[in-house]
Symmetry: C3
């Protein structure tokens, strides 16, 4: 029923990540920086946050992946993203983009467009509203929260994927990942993730971690989202609400291992 | 002994908040952004943090309330606050101001003055030292911590409330809320809240959430502070120190319900 | 075996800190601001974060110590550090520097050099790679993580200490602190601290707290690192992974007392 090959690949990716401990360069928002760094550490990567024009090109050159996140955006940060992104493209370092709040304001939507036009991006991960707005559809985003379901955005994701040559991931109750041809769905996850700020941003960062060890963007994305979703399921068992869910999620990421992944990953072709 | 009508109103406001899930636009400090977003989510609101001049006017126009917080302040953030605030005033969206560190430096005090003079603000929530300094009294603020008790600032709060046409809230062991005529005191709360950074900032943000659903600024403020204080009491039972108190407080906010509020809210006229 | 005098001094410093509750002015990075503020509060200090050129000189003049941290650095923050640092020097307020990521990029290394040349700094705390890079040795820093062991950097720390007239602290499995003559080693600590972002930054901030009450930089540094390490040991007992370790560490800092410190502090001459 679920794809067993991809369950094994999830385990292999995690093992590789923990062996290599690649540097993941994040240019991300103020709200989630701490959570993101801790999640990357717990997963097995080596996070760094750096946005100064003086150093982003140098920093990204040591990285296994570059994570661009549009939350709490201002113009100087967009410039830093473009500088780091161009260097990453030059060096063949994969980029993952989180278009936080695309569709909510003209500035966010325009920035997402500028980034996707100026850079070759491996993976874009957003909620359904953000993906619809990137596809130019008349969507709505309430601040940074989706008002559309994942399935509503499937067509837009496939079209956008083909247009941009990127893997598109829409996260929600069931996550959808597509490279324009293949469509994978991930059934791991827990609704409590929707009650904690930054869980989407962390999904994007962890995707960056797997991109650093898996050259297949589609599978790197699907396996990272599935592993993360499984951690969410385990965290829900160990917590009483969204507050205690947060540390429990980091604990669960840290305690992921091959056995759990092989047996509990739920990805469908 | 305690005001039963306001206990019921607290419950009604929470129910309304969770039904409407209004967007709360925060321009707040770096230290508390994550805590604030998570507290607003746990309470039932939809938080967004945005401070770019390119988008603050557009973002606030979708919001149920605007929260302005002066921690980690710089001049560009003051400009963003003024832009968002003027648009909020134009659209009749309530503003709540947290004058973090007013009285500690000339820059903070002057900024608080500029914001209160340039904008029509519904609620100002601070500690006693901050409120005294806003009233032009020769108060002291040690960094961002109060060195005065709530009762010392009652007169200043009433005078300031009348002068600015705003509700003034002073939080401390017992919280005081006044619209210049009526004075309410809130007896919910727990001393552990003083050992966690940003609990005051979160009080301000949650007041923004209730302002989005309750047109009476005085009662919106008193009921939000009381609900938050009750969550603090419950968190103290479930925690071992200020570290575990933080997630427990978010859990407790999430698990607030009408029954608890009606029975345990302690507001006095 | 362990230095009993320094164990007693650790207890005395903590008692003094909690009696005086000095303001600690931090100009630090976005990732760790919340954690740092909460750790300082739990330890017994009064933290403030402020970086605006309009107020840093005034704010630092009320402080017991100034903490400069180079994470998520940009040029305007360097300027703020220099302004605050010069005022601190003028007023005899001790400065502790955390050269986060020195060695990782030219910008970070150059900034660390500029700060140490322009300011009289009491204590520099970094990991082995950062300290080696400050000493001009051809070290490597992977983002913000060390790739060298503490002992490899002992010679560099002693030489740098003599050159700068500063106490140098290298944290790792065993921490090393030197004023160029005396070398102290701290055996408190727990490996889980390496799995949580910002634990190094917090070590620096807590050192600032003890510098505010202990005029002997070497001993203030060694005792703060030992007390913090002991809190880490206790947190490890109460946690299941790096996520729950974070709140447990704050709880443990809060519950440190003279008895524990006198009996469990492990500093060697």
């Amino acid at each position: 029923m679920f794809n067993d090959v991809l369950a094994h690949k999830t385990a292999a990716n995690l093992t590789e990540l923990r062996n290599k401990k690649p540097l993941i360069h994040n240019i991300t928002n103020f709200v989630v920086m701490n959570f993101t760094a801790n999640a990357l550490l717990a997963f097995g990567a080596s996070p760094v946050m750096a946005h100064a024009p003086e150093e982003v090109e140098e920093m990204v050159s040591f990285a296994g992946a570059l994570v661009l996140n549009m939350g709490t955006l201002t113009e100087p940060w967009v410039e830093a993203m473009l500088m780091a992104g161009k260097k990453a493209n030059e060096l063949g370092i994969p980029i993952v983009l989180d278009p936080v709040g695309a569709g909510a304001t003209v500035f966010r939507t325009a920035t997402a467009m500028k980034l996707t036009e100026s850079l070759s991006i491996s993976v874009i991960r957003g909620n359904a509203s953000e993906v619809l707005s990137l596809a130019g559809e008349d969507s709505q985003t309430k601040g940074v929260d989706a008002v559309h379901g994942v399935d509503e955005a499937e067509g837009a994701a496939i079209a956008l994927s083909q247009e941009l040559g990127a893997t598109l991931a829409i996260t929600g109750a069931v996550d959808l990942v597509t490279d324009g041809n293949r469509v994978l769905r991930i059934f791991n996850g827990h609704e409590q993730m929707g009650n904690v700020t930054g869980t989407g941003c962390v999904a994007t960062a962890l995707t960056g971690a797997f991109l650093a060890v898996d050259g297949d963007s589609l599978e790197a994305t699907a396996t990272s989202l599935a592993a993360y979703g499984l951690a969410g399921e385990e965290a829900a068992v160990d917590s009483k609400g969204p507050g205690s869910f947060h540390p429990a999620l980091l604990d669960a990421l840290y305690h992921l291992d091959s056995d759990k992944l092989i047996n509990k990953i739920k990805i469908k072709d």
